[in-house]
C-alpha cells in the first residue's frame, strides 16, 4: 500500500509543477478523454501493446510486401525440396520459407501476414458495429423507458441466454457459408447485448440529472437530448468496452474459422491455419505450422487485452475489475 502512495504522490507533484510552471500559473481545461490519454501514456504496458498493435496493423497493410520479398503468393503451392518432404509433408523454416510451409506446400510466413488482414478487419469491424448498435439500443432503452425499455431489456436477456458460439453455428447453419461482412454482422448481433446492458444502466441514472432537465426546459428534442447531451457522458465506458471487445472479436473470428464455419479457404486466416495444423501437431510434427499463426493470434489478443486494461484504468483509476460484466441493477 505504502508503495503505491510513493508511486502516485511524486508523479502528482511533478505534474503539478509542470502545469503551474515557474511564474506563470496557467490552468488548462482538460476533458476526460485528454486526461485519460495523459494517464495512459504513463503506462508502460499499454504503450508496448500499442506498439505491438501498430506492428500487426503494418503487417496487415503491407502483406503484399512479404509476398514480394519472398516471391511467394499466399495461395500458391510449391513442390520443391524446401517446400515439401518426399512424403509430401510440410518442411520447417529454411532460407526460402522463413516460417516453413504448410500441408499444401504454401508459405506460412506470407499466409500469416495475410491472415492479419482478416483478423483485424473482422475484429475492428465487428467491434465498431457492436458498439454502435449497443449504444443506440442502450440509449433508447434507458432514455425512453416504458415499453421500449421492456422490449430491449427482454431482447438483451434472450441474446445473453444463448451461448454465443452455438448461436453463430445456428446462424451459419441456416444462412449457409458466410463472407467477411456477414461474419462481422454475426459477431455483432450477439455482442451488442452486453454493451447495451451497461449503457442502459448508465443512462437511467444520467437522465434524472439537472443538465438533462435543463436541456428539456430549453426545448431540446428527444433525439438531441439522447445524442448531444447523454451520448458524450457514456463515451468513456464505450471506449473501454471497445478496446476489450476487439480481442474478443478477433478470437471469435479465429474460433469460427477453426471450426470451419468462418472464413472459407483458400483465404489466409490464423484460425484456419491452426485448425489445419492440429492433426500434425498431435503427432509432434510441423510445430512451425501451429507456432507462427498461434503466436500472431496470441500477441494480437494479448496486446489488445493489456491495452484495454490500461484504457480502463486511465478512465477510472480506482477500478481494478475485469470486463465490466456486472449484473444489471433492478
Amino acid at each position: 500500500m505504502t508503495q503505491s502512495i510513493e508511486n502516485v504522490v511524486p508523479d502528482a507533484a511533478t505534474a503539478l509543477e509542470q502545469q503551474a510552471g515557474p511564474g506563470t500559473a496557467r490552468i488548462e481545461g482538460r476533458g476526460p478523454i485528454k486526461l485519460a490519454w495523459t494517464r495512459l501514456r504513463r503506462d508502460r504496458g499499454s504503450m508496448i501493446s500499442l506498439g505491438v498493435i501498430g506492428f500487426v496493423v503494418l503487417v496487415a497493410i503491407f502483406a503484399p510486401v512479404f509476398a514480394w520479398l519472398t516471391g511467394h503468393d499466399p495461395n500458391a503451392q510449391y513442390y520443391g525440396a524446401d517446400a515439401r518432404t518426399p512424403l509430401g509433408l510440410p518442411v520447417g523454416p529454411n532460407s526460402h520459407f522463413w516460417f516453413g510451409t504448410d500441408t499444401a506446400g504454401r508459405d506460412v510466413l506470407v499466409r500469416v501476414a495475410y491472415g492479419a488482414r482478416v483478423s483485424l478487419v473482422v475484429g475492428i469491424g465487428a467491434t465498431v458495429l457492436t458498439i454502435v448498435v449497443g449504444l443506440v439500443a442502450g440509449l433508447a432503452a434507458g432514455y425512453f423507458g416504458g415499453i421500449v425499455d421492456t422490449m430491449i431489456a427482454r431482447l438483451i436477456d434472450v441474446v445473453l441466454a444463448v451461448p454465443f458460439l452455438l448461436f453463430a453455428i445456428a446462424l451459419v447453419g441456416v444462412l449457409g457459408n458466410i463472407g467477411l461482412g456477414m461474419l462481422i454482422i454475426v459477431i455483432a448481433s450477439f455482442g451488442w447485448a452486453s454493451v447495451a446492458r451497461i449503457i442502459r444502466g448508465q443512462v437511467i441514472s444520467l437522465k434524472e440529472r439537472e443538465f438533462v432537465e435543463a436541456a428539456r426546459s430549453l426545448g431540446a428534442g428527444q433525439l438531441r437530448i439522447m445524442f448531444v447531451d447523454l451520448l458524450p457522458n457514456v463515451v468513456a465506458p464505450a471506449i473501454v468496452f471497445s478496446t476489450l471487445l476487439i480481442p474478443v472479436s478477433v478470437v471469435t473470428e479465429a474460433a469460427l474459422s477453426f471450426l470451419g464455419i468462418g472464413v472459407q479457404p483458400p483465404t489466409s486466416d490464423w484460425g484456419e491455419m491452426i485448425s489445419d495444423s492440429a492433426p500434425l501437431v498431435a503427432e509432434g510434427q510441423a510445430w512451425w505450422y501451429l507456432l507462427f499463426p498461434g503466436l500472431a493470434l496470441l500477441a494480437t489478443t494479448l496486446a489488445f487485452n493489456i491495452l484495454g486494461d490500461g484504457v480502463r484504468d486511465a478512465f477510472d483509476p480506482r477500478s481494478d475489475r475485469l470486463i465490466p460484466m456486472r449484473k444489471k441493477a433492478k
Binding site: 436477456d157 441466454a161 458460439l165 498431435a282 509432434g284 489478443t301 486494461d309 475485469l322
Partner: protein, 321 residues
C-alpha cells in the same frame, strides 16, 4: 424467499419462451418448401423433403406451427426429428450430454479452485512475486483462445511426454464414468485443464480485487483484534463476502464455458454436444443444432437462476424483491 425464487423462475420461463420464439423463427422462417429442404438435410431426396413437409405441417400458419412446437417441448420433451440420422433429436442429445456435462462441470470445479485460490493468495500478499506471477498468468491465459491452448497442451503433455515414455495423458477420446471412473478422469484431464486455465483467469482477478477490498473493512480488523487465527479470519470472514462477485461472474460464465466446450470438444475429439453441432453443420443437419441451442440456453437460464438464489443465501445484504 419463496416469492423471490418464484419471481426468478417466472422470469426464466419468459426468457426461455422468447428464446424458443427467436430460434423457431430463425429455423422456420421463409417459404415452407425451403424450410422443409433446410430441415431434411443435405442429401435428402424430394420424397424425404415431402415427408418432412407433412410431418411438420409446414403448410399451416407460422403461429400455429410455433404453438405445436412449444407444446411438443413442454408436454413431451420432444425436440423434433433428426432426419439425417433418422432418430429423434433427443436420442442424440441424451447420448452426447454426459460428455459435455462431464467436461463443463469438471472444468468449472477446477477453474473455481485455481482462480479463487490464486486470487486469495495474491490479495493476502499484494505486490509480492506470487501476486505478480498470478496476475500476469491470468492476463496471458485470458488472451489465449481455447483451441490454441488445447493444441499446445496436446503437444506438450501428450506428445512430448509420450515420446519420453510417459503416456499419462491421452490426446482425446471419451470413456464413460460408468465404465471406469479412473479412465474417465484420465481422458478428461487435458480438456479440463484447457477450460479451467482460460476461465480461471477471470476469477483470479475478480477474487483478488474483492478480497483486497474486504480485507480493508473494519470487521476484519475487529475479527483480528478478537484474536482469531488469520486462517479463520480469511476463510470465515473475508472469503465469504468476497465470493459474491465471483458467484455473479460464475452465472455469466456458464454460457461462455458452453462455448469453450464446443472448441475443446473439437480439439480433443470428445463426442459431446458441441462436436455434434459442428458435425451437424457439415451434414446440413439443422434439427440437431436447433435442439442443442434450446438445451444449452435452458442450461444457461437455469444456471443463472441457481446463482441468483445462492447469491441471496450467501450474502444477507442482498435484498429479495
Amino acid at each position: 424467499m419463496i416469492r423471490f425464487v418464484a419471481r426468478r423462475l417466472t422470469h426464466g420461463v419468459v426468457v426461455m419462451f422468447f428464446v424458443l420464439f427467436g430460434v423457431f423463427m430463425l429455423f422456420f422462417g421463409g417459404s415452407p418448401e425451403s424450410v422443409a429442404r433446410r430441415l431434411a438435410g443435405r442429401q435428402a431426396t424430394q420424397d424425404q423433403v415431402q415427408r418432412v413437409f407433412h410431418d411438420l405441417g409446414l403448410d399451416r400458419p407460422l403461429l400455429e406451427q410455433f404453438s405445436t412446437f412449444v407444446k411438443g417441448i413442454v408436454t413431451r420433451g420432444d425436440l423434433g426429428t433428426d432426419y439425417y440420422h433418422g432418430v429423434p433429436v433427443t436420442t442424440l442429445l441424451k447420448q452426447d450430454a454426459p460428455v459435455t456435462i462431464s467436461l463443463v462441470v469438471g472444468g468449472a470445479v477446477l477453474w473455481l479452485v485455481i482462480g479463487v485460490a490464486s486470487g486469495v493468495l495474491s490479495a493476502v500478499r499484494p505486490r509480492s512475486i506470487a501476486d505478480r506471477t498470478s496476475t500476469g498468468l491470468a492476463l496471458l491465459f485470458q488472451s489465449v483462445p481455447a483451441f490454441l491452448l488445447g493444441l499446445t497442451l496436446i503437444n506438450l503433455l501428450f506428445y512430448q511426454l509420450t515420446v519420453h515414455g510417459l503416456a499419462w495423458f491421452p490426446a482425446g477420446g471419451y470413456v464413460p464414468i460408468t465404465q471406469s471412473p479412473f479412465e474417465w478422469a484420465r481422458h478428461l484431464i487435458l480438456p479440463w485443464l484447457t477450460i479451467a486455465l482460460i476461465s480461471a483467469a477471470t476469477y483470479t482477478r475478480l477474487s483478488r480485487t474483492a478480497m483486497l477490498e474486504v480485507l480493508g473493512e473494519d470487521y476484519i480488523r475487529t475479527a483480528r483484534a478478537k484474536g482469531l487465527r488469520e486462517w479463520r479470519v480469511l476463510t470465515r470472514h473475508a472469503l465469504r463476502s468476497a465470493l459474491t462477485p465471483v458467484l455473479t461472474q460464475f452465472g455469466v460464465d456458464v454460457a461462455i464455458a458452453l462455448g469453450g466446450a464446443i472448441l475443446t470438444e473439437s480439439v480433443f475429439g470428445l463426442p459431446g454436444l458441441g462436436r455434434e453441432s459442428v458435425q451437424a453443420i457439415n451434414n446440413q443437419d439443422l434439427p440437431v443444432i436447433l435442439g442443442v441451442v434450446i438445451v444449452a440456453s435452458a442450461a444457461v437460464v437455469l444456471a443463472n437462476i441457481v446463482v441468483d438464489v445462492l447469491y441471496a443465501l450467501l450474502d444477507p445484504r442482498v435484498k429479495l424483491h
